[in-house]
């Protein structure tokens, strides 16, 4: 498992952990509220949507791809799910339909990339516009509100005092790590990211593995959309604007290379956590919205530079 356990990766993750620890320590000094159990749970809860999308994005980026369509797919699948729920479809079936719709958009992305040989950035950029338009048309620009209580439990219930979305995220990451480390598909994903040409020459099913990661990414975007919809008791066609950039930022802050073959889910989770911490701290400390973006950008830059340093000093 050198690809996931090499020294450099360990250093990089370590660097990010230190960055987060320092930040948390500082914030705890600034506000006693920050480390309250409830706030920590809030923070994790708020990280879930980005973390789930970023998990799919990690697989995509490991194959040297990118998925810009996740935010729009999230909105499209959310309005579809909400609509079928309102039509009286049972909750489980509605969830399956929603996840299926996400998977289908991923499939289209994957086919455009593998069969159409369009660069992933371009294919998913087109899908981003297209899916957003579909979401808006489908919902006619209005939120779809008033969903069955059983569905809302996805976002609002707790188990053992921990909100369900956090459990869902844990399952997604557990499954993702299993796929990357213990399955043939996981090896293929790293191999394709390392050299898709060599992967083709060695008989790896490059096309189906690539399509698979985009399908997973689409389905996970749909899952994130459902959590959001359940928490809000409403699905909106403009949900998820710019979520793709947040997810990519989480993945990259987590130590993955956009050139593929390098990175893992552990780092991505820390990346998503870091971003949630910053957003949470801005609210807790009541920092002016005008400063907020400057702060967010700077912290991300600082975290990345820190990696860079640890990478070079190894």
């Amino acid at each position: 498992m050198t690809t996931t356990f090499d020294l450099g990766a360990l250093f990089r993750r370590f660097g990010l952990l230190i960055a987060i620890a320092v930040l948390v320590f500082g914030l705890a000094l600034l506000s006693p509220q920050f480390l309250a159990v409830q706030n920590v749970l809030n923070l994790l809860l708020q990280a879930t949507v980005n973390a789930i999308i970023a998990a799919g994005m990690t697989l995509v980026i490991l194959t040297a791809g990118i998925d810009l369509s996740v935010g729009s797919v999230l909105a499209l699948t959310a309005v579809i799910t909400a609509d079928v729920l309102q039509a009286g479809v049972p909750v489980v079936l509605a969830v399956v339909i929603g996840l299926g719709a996400g998977a289908v958009t991923g499939l289209v992305n994957g086919l455009l990339i593998t069969l159409g040989r369009i660069p992933p950035f371009i294919a998913t950029l087109g899908m981003m516009t297209l899916a957003r338009g579909l979401a808006l048309s489908y919902a006619q620009g209005r939120p779809i509100t008033g969903l069955p209580d059983r569905f809302l439990l996805v976002g609002t219930s707790s188990m053992l005092g921990i909100p369900t979305p956090i459990w869902i995220t844990a399952v997604v990451y557990g499954a993702g790590m299993f796929v990357l480390r213990r399955t043939v598909l996981g090896r293929y994903i790293y191999a394709i990211g390392n050299s898709s040409r060599a992967a083709r020459f060695t008989g790896i099913p490059v096309r189906s593995a690539t399509v698979a990661v985009y399908v997973i990414s689409g389905a996970l975007a749909a899952l994130a959309g459902m959590i959001l919809t359940a928490r809000l008791n409403s699905a909106q066609p403009i949900m998820g604007l710019q979520y793709e950039l947040n997810a990519i930022a989480a993945v990259v802050v987590g130590g993955a290379a956009l050139s593929g073959g390098e990175g893992g889910l552990g780092g991505t989770f820390l990346g998503a956590l870091l971003m949630a911490i910053i957003a949470n701290a801005i609210n807790i400390l009541n920092i002016s919205p005008f400063v907020a973006q400057v702060l967010q950008g700077s912290v991300i830059l600082a975290a990345l530079l820190l990696h860079g340093l640890s990478r070079r000093n190894q």
Partner: protein, 313 residues
């Protein structure tokens, strides 16, 4: 004979797509091909084209620039602020705005070259920071009242929009730099194979810094034009412009892997987006559907482009 036709199709596929779209829309709306409407389209696409030209430089060099939308807004605000608030003469305000834009681009380049950050993330962070700085500087309020010397750049000289003239100058200069000067050759070379270019004794760092600074400068030109066109600097101006600019660049035949791309192609790419928006408006297509169609046509156009390029010439 046939091979020549093919070669032309491959070489100019972007322009052919543009022509096909124009033909289509001229069938849909009789007003489409009117001279005034064509001028409108170029006027409407000038901002995107100019910004995309800057992005093209970074993409050819093997990078990318996601900060351009925010830089457009920030430079627009700062140049307007220098004139309205600080009372500087218009040319000075514009000049300082341009310098500021180039500096912001240079900062991107510094992070990429010396911070060794991936261009995507370095400029993503700059996108957030520059937007935040715009809000801070404007305190969330638009700045207006720059006067006619400024808004001249958003007006018309007779029937001709000034933005088109600016675009022409930009195309001429940036095209010449890219095709004729050593710097331009090195931008291609760095994007094609950075290590080789370094081994050939080229100062790769400087080339990259130059490409990002140029991108910042073009975003600044775009910022001035937009502010002049709106007679006010808007704190939320040009959000999302970066992705459109990248889309235009790619439609124009540039490769995100670096090493390939042309200025005229990028301009054609921007015009395709402009023609789509204009034509769909004239055809009275609903805005939601416009997004679906734009996304679909974008994908189709790139598919077609890829397909023609794969046919051996």
């Amino acid at each position: 004979m046939i091979p020549t036709v093919r070669r032309i199709v491959v070489r100019y596929s972007t322009f052919l797509i543009l022509a096909a779209l124009m033909l289509l829309f001229s069938l849909v709306s009789s007003r489409f091909l009117q001279v005034n409407n064509l001028l409108n389209i170029v006027d409407q696409s000038a901002l995107l084209a100019i910004v995309a030209i800057g992005v093209t430089y970074t993409i050819i060099s093997g990078g990318i620039d996601l900060s351009v939308g925010s830089v457009v807004a920030l430079v627009g605000a700062v140049s307007a602020g220098l004139i309205v608030r600080a009372g500087l003469p218009v040319p000075v305000g514009i000049l300082l705005g341009l310098v500021f834009g180039a500096l912001l681009g240079l900062v991107n380049g510094l992070f990429v070259v010396y911070g060794r950050l991936q261009p995507f993330v370095a400029t993503l962070a700059m996108m957030a920071i520059a937007r935040g700085l715009t809000l801070l500087y404007t305190q969330g309020r638009p700045i207006s009242g720059m006067g006619e010397a400024y808004t001249f750049f958003g007006s018309r000289l007779g029937p001709i929009p000034v933005s088109i003239l600016v675009l022409l100058v930009v195309v001429l200069v940036s095209g010449t730099v890219l095709r004729r000067t050593p710097f331009g050759a090195y931008v291609y070379a760095v994007g094609g194979n950075e290590e080789t270019t370094r081994l050939a004794g080229v100062a790769v760092s400087r080339v990259k810094l130059g490409a990002y600074a140029f991108s910042g400068l073009m975003a600044a030109v775009g910022g001035i034009i937009l502010t002049a066109r709106l007679w006010s600097a808007q704190p939320q101006a040009a959000t999302g412009l970066e992705l459109q600019a990248i889309a235009a660049t790619v439609l124009g035949g540039a490769s995100l892997m670096g090493g390939a791309g042309t200025i005229l192609g990028t301009v054609a790419g921007a015009l395709i987006m402009g023609v789509l928006a204009n034509g769909l408006n004239l055809a009275g297509v609903s805005s939601y559907l416009q997004q679906v169609i734009t996304g679909g046509i974008f994908i189709l156009a790139v598919l077609l482009d890829m397909w023609t390029k794969r046919q051996k010439v």
